[in-house]
């Protein structure tokens, strides 16, 4: 187990020493039986890891120190993320940490920050994110969850969907329609409410992976007090959009494809195709594309390090990463023969079918590949509407 360095000393380590320190601590302290899980773990499964990070003070690398975070620069945040992925640490229920926390720190009242931030870090509150609706997916600003003004509170009616791990959460943050006049982006507010509010119901959705990772949440005359709005009423869309940047780079990290390629190689050996010329040619292409993705990723990280603004072109990273990952898992399926159709992992732990299904939603969530290409065409290439 690595030494317990105070934050000041930890942040002062050079990048390589910092990386090794993080790596060592993860290796010595990861409490779960499963690494490289092929599905999101539920709170009852990943809680020991969440709490270990909580006790260590490492849950929120990007939050400022005075709010209980580590206050790390972007480079060191990415290093922590890379080391977690490298080790295969399970992702925790991190919506409060990754999405809500930064939002509250930037836009919430002092009272809201004091009330909610510590409870995220202690694991008392597990949040889920209610953005998408049945008729507002890629066109998110078309959302219709109705928040009717009743003086000192709103009454919510409507539905959210594709809510990751809502069945684990005790709080939810939602984008709701507080104003139906004007542009669709301008009448949206960012509201907070407990999941046990009267009128809230949850229905898990079993996905292609046969896992209940996503849920629908229904709101039937749910009362939300007015002090549960973050920032100004009707301005929630702008807040939600402002939190991109770092997340966009993180989602383009080459580690997922890198791990995938390593597993593809193991699989090829396992099924005796590792000297097959057709396999070797596609493997060469994947290797080189992965190295190019890594070079591009590093170029963005360099820009982030120098404090440069990251523009909409960063979505190229997500497109390349997710589509490469998918093609790598496509190749797994192709070479796996009969194993491709199996429901459970192979004897050596490889699971081509699981990897293949795991890769499917990556080009849909967080901006589908098609939406991201629209954004590239309009905002980067300046093509007309």
């Amino acid at each position: 187990m690595s030494a317990d360095l105070p934050l000041d000393e930890l942040a002062a380590l050079d990048e390589e020493a910092f990386r090794l320190h993080v790596r060592e601590w993860i290796e010595g302290n990861y409490p779960l039986p499963v690494r490289h899980p092929t599905r999101r773990l539920h709170w009852h499964e990943n809680k020991p890891w969440y709490m270990a990070l909580s006790r260590k003070g490492w849950l929120a690398p990007g939050w400022p120190r005075d709010h209980g975070g580590m206050g790390l620069d972007a480079t060191r945040q990415l290093i922590m993320l890379e080391e977690m992925e490298r080790f295969g640490a399970a992702r925790v229920n991190d919506m409060g940490l990754v999405m809500l926390g930064p939002m509250l720190i930037r836009y919430a009242s002092e009272e809201q920050k004091r009330r909610f931030l510590p409870r995220i870090l202690s694991g008392e509150d597990i949040w889920c994110q209610g953005y998408s609706e049945p008729n507002a997916g890629s066109d998110l600003a078309a959302l219709r969850l109705d928040a009717a003004d009743h003086g000192d509170h709103w009454i919510l009616n409507g539905q959210k969907t594709w809510i990751t791990l809502a069945n684990d959460a005790n709080w939810i943050f939602v984008l709701a329609r507080t104003n139906k006049t004007g542009k669709k982006q301008e009448g949206i507010s960012f509201l907070l409410l407990p999941m046990d509010s009267p009128g809230v119901s949850v229905r898990p959705i079993v996905n292609l992976d046969l896992h209940d990772e996503f849920c629908e949440v229904f709101f039937d005359n749910v009362r939300v007090p007015k002090d549960m709005v973050v920032g100004d009423v009707d301005k929630g869309w702008g807040y939600a959009k402002a939190l991109l940047g770092f997340e966009r780079i993180a989602i383009g990290s080459p580690k997922l494809s890198s791990n995938g390629l390593a597993r593809l190689k193991q699989l090829a050996v396992s099924v005796g195709k590792d000297q097959d010329p057709a396999f070797l040619d596609s493997y060469a292409r994947f290797s080189m594309e992965l190295a190019d993705l890594k070079a591009l990723y590093e170029a963005y990280v360099e820009r982030l390090k120098r404090g440069e603004a990251i523009g909409p072109d960063v979505s190229i990273l997500k497109i390349v990463q997710t589509e490469l990952f998918q093609r790598i898992t496509d190749a797994m399926l192709e070479i796996a023969g009969g194993h491709a159709g199996l429901l459970e992992p192979m004897e050596d732990g490889l699971h081509p079918a699981g990897s293949f299904l795991l890769a499917r939603p990556s080009t849909i969530f967080g901006g589908s590949s098609e939406i991201l290409r629209n954004i590239l065409a309009r905002n980067v290439l300046d093509l007309p509407a």
Binding site: D292, R306, L372, V380, L383
Partner: protein, 356 residues
């Protein structure tokens, strides 16, 4: 890298890019390039002279060898600018010869080559798709770019364990025209009247071929960037069905895909150049160069052929400039090794075939 070092590098790259304007018309016009097409010798000796006087031919050579001692990042930035303008003067092959002559300690040919007064080309290639110079004494030498413009040809010849270098004045090459309006030459390796310049240039040859391949990748990067910009301009301006072509989502997504290819090529080429500057050698260098060249060759052909498609019928006319980029890419994509050759070489050289 420190803040200052970063600023210095940015400044150095900006200067070299600005200097490229010396051989290009300010409006980016391709009239000179068109006028030289399918002519012999196919280059403008005055432009070659300018390249010499600006130090480009010896850009990578140390000052004591008559060069200006700049790095691979600068060499690639310059090649990118030349690619944007489809410049036909063979700077990559000329710089390759300069590196061999400098390694040989030659003082007879190098100064006039570096000054741009003479064009010295190296007849290293023995097969259609190659990045190696075996130096077989009997093997015909093929695909010497712009051979008719050369005053002197260098001939690498295997002698024992060494790769000797001979200089032959004048050219007796057989000329084949190429799609871009240039030509390639081939010749039989006769040593009659040849001067032996060095006993062994094999190490310099390895390095020179890698640098030439990476420089070619950078030239292709510039070529595809400019071709893509012209295509975007066309998509914004051309109206059909009462609106701009570029407003159609099917075309927008194709354009986005081409942008992705260009961005990946830039990351690959600039990353390789930076790593070579930082001292990458041997197999690490070969893997970096092969990755960049394979990506650039594939991306350049994809961008240029889709540019023709996105232009529609006008793109298929010789009069419209977009076709010049496709035809140049057809010639340059396989120069110093095709994408397939470089993929195979990458897998041999990269650690575990995978460097991530």
């Amino acid at each position: 890298m420190s803040e200052t070092a970063f600023e210095d590098r940015v400044q150095s790259l900006r200067m070299i890019r600005d200097s490229a304007a010396a051989v290009m018309p300010a409006d980016g016009g391709l009239g000179r390039v068109r006028a030289l097409r399918f002519t012999l010798p196919g280059i403008d000796p005055a432009v070659w002279g300018s390249m010499g006087s600006m130090g480009w031919i010896g850009l990578r050579l140390p000052e004591e060898a008559g060069g200006i001692g700049l790095g691979m990042a600068e060499a690639c930035a310059l090649q990118e600018e030349l690619g944007r303008a489809l410049v036909p003067e063979p700077l990559v092959p000329g710089a390759l010869s300069a590196r061999l002559l400098a390694a040989a300690g030659d003082t007879a040919l190098l100064p006039s080559l570096l000054a741009g007064e003479n064009l010295v080309l190296t007849a290293w290639q023995q097969s259609a798709d190659s990045l190696e110079a075996p130096g077989d004494p009997e093997a015909p030498r093929l695909f010497i770019p712009m051979a008719a413009a050369a005053g002197t040809v260098l001939l690498p010849v295997r002698e024992g364990n060494g790769l000797a270098l001979y200089a032959v004045e004048g050219t007796r090459a057989t000329i084949l025209k190429t799609q871009d309006g240039g030509h390639v030459g081939s010749l039989a390796p006769s040593l009659a009247g040849a001067r032996r310049v060095a006993a062994d240039v094999s190490a310099a040859m390895d390095l020179a071929l890698d640098e030439a391949a990476l420089g070619t990748a950078a030239y292709l990067l510039g070529l595809m960037e400019r071709c893509f910009e012209m295509t975007l301009d066309y998509l914004r301006a051309r109206q059909q069905f009462g609106k701009a072509l570029g407003s159609f989502q099917a075309l927008q997504h194709r354009a986005a895909d081409l942008k992705i290819q260009i961005v990946l090529t830039r990351a690959s080429v600039e990353g390789a150049a930076a790593d070579l500057n930082a001292g990458a050698a041997g197999d690490a260098r070969r893997a970096l160069v092969s990755r960049a060249k394979a990506r650039a060759a594939e991306a350049a052909l994809r961008v240029t052929r889709e540019a023709v498609q996105l232009h529609g019928a006008i793109g298929y006319t010789d009069e419209y400039d977009i076709g010049l980029f496709l035809r140049k890419a057809m010639v340059t994509a396989n120069a110093f090794g095709s994408a397939a050759l470089h993929r195979a070489r990458y897998m041999r050289c990269a650690p575990g075939g995978q460097s991530v």
